[in-house]
């Protein structure tokens, strides 16, 4: 687990004391990563700005409850993800969540376990980066939130399992199984949307 950098702790303490400049510096430090994180949940720039702004405002309000054992970024991620999911819920988007019971989704699935994981081919070397990124994002958008979130934190935020567990408030064992299932779901969706990437 990463410990909060000393600069963050100082900025948090000064913000709590009512120093506007210190909080502005904290926001500037993490705003880019927050915008990139929230981009995985909506592509509308206005919505992204709203969600990130509310993330920081909520963080400021709860600054006193920030546990300094965790990193400020991990703590901020948790607020951002909850705010994003709350936004999607209010907007009635991502209906996949509504029909999927997380317990069912996480229950042992013999077909997922038994299937070899090598059914998806790597993208064609001639494909452009943004073309691959578009396909990847489209597949991610189709995944239930619990799987999309764990993939985003691991694959794009490069978080350690313990940090993911802290952000989502789950155990490391759950992170392991959820990631396993999320990757299997990703492959299934990729093949469903683009059968040409199947490997015999």
């Amino acid at each position: 687990m990463q410990s909060a950098p000393q600069e963050d702790l100082s900025l948090v303490a000064e913000s709590l004391a009512g120093n506007q400049l210190s909080f502005q510096l904290l926001v500037e430090r993490y705003q880019g990563r927050m915008f990139a994180l929230v981009r995985h949940y909506t592509k509308n720039p206005v919505e992204i700005e709203d969600i990130v702004q509310d993330t920081f405002l909520k963080a400021f309000r709860r600054l006193a409850s920030f546990q300094q054992q965790a990193s400020f970024y991990t703590w901020l991620c948790r607020i951002a993800i909850n705010t994003s999911l709350d936004f999607l819920k209010r907007a009635g988007r991502n209906p996949v969540v509504g029909v999927e019971d997380p317990e069912i989704a996480l229950a042992p699935d013999s077909t997922t376990v038994a299937r070899p994981a090598s059914t998806v081919a790597a993208p064609d070397a001639r494909m452009e980066r943004d073309e691959i990124a578009r396909i990847t994002q489209a597949v991610l958008d189709e995944l239930p939130d619990i799987f999309r979130t764990v993939l985003v934190l691991r694959e794009f935020e490069d978080m350690a399992y313990q940090d993911i567990a802290d952000v989502l408030g789950i155990s490391i064992g759950t992170v392991e199984s959820r990631l396993f299932r999320a990757r299997a779901r990703f492959k299934d969706k990729l093949l469903a949307l683009h059968p040409e990437f199947g490997e015999s």
Binding site: Q24, V27, T55, A117, Y161, L179
Partner: protein, 198 residues
């Protein structure tokens, strides 16, 4: 101690991520050495990285559609609002739905139509009510004598004649006939009983 494929496969992603404890990684390593299928699955897990990496790169490239630029002055604005007491707990600016303007009109029209229907129903009910509050049947039902008189009129070709001057069977005649028929049948039944007794 050895593990089966069904236990080994879920450990593969964590192993590839370098997140397994040495004890569990050792068990998996031992299984992978002897299991061709699980080795194939582990290799397949590596191909996913080639799908995720381009998306991660695109998100950091300002020329890419996946890059989101932070609006200028964002941090200062947020800090100002935070210190001013904005909690961030508010309704989001949701995009207006396509039929947002039509919906109020449809609701108003429906309410108006419902009101008109109600007024119409009440009016119809009022109209079908009897004019008098006296609900006695006597004023409606004609006496039998009068009906018989009307039959007689019909029998006489529609000529209205007083009931006393009727040439056809009058009510009294009909009643008399009915009485004589009844007494005759009584006599017959008595005679029958007597003959049986004898």
């Amino acid at each position: 101690m050895e593990i089966e494929c069904i236990d080994a496969l879920p450990l593969v992603p964590a192993y590839l991520d370098g997140e397994l404890s040495e004890a569990r990684a050792g068990l998996l390593r031992k299984h992978l050495l002897g299991c061709h299928a699980c080795r194939g699955a582990a290799q397949g897990g590596k191909t996913l990285e080639r799908w995720f990496a381009p998306r991660a790169e695109a998100g950091a490239d300002p020329r890419s559609e996946f890059f989101v630029a932070v609006p200028s002055g964002f941090a200062a604005r947020v800090a100002r609002r935070a210190l001013a007491g904005d909690s961030g707990e508010r309704e989001y600016r949701l995009p207006r739905a396509k039929y947002d303007n039509v919906l109020p009109f449809v609701l108003r029209a429906t309410a108006l139509a419902a009101g008109l229907l109600f007024v119409l129903a009440v009016g119809l009910q009022m109209q079908s009510r009897p004019e008098s509050t006296n609900l006695s049947a006597e004023s409606v039902v004609q006496p039998v004598d009068r009906i018989v008189e009307q039959f007689d009129q019909l029998n006489n070709g529609g000529v209205a004649t007083p009931a006393s001057n009727l040439q056809g069977p009058t009510l009294q005649a009909l009643r008399g006939k009915a009485n004589s028929d009844k007494s005759a049948s009584d006599d017959n039944s008595r005679a029958g009983r007597r003959s049986k007794q004898q």
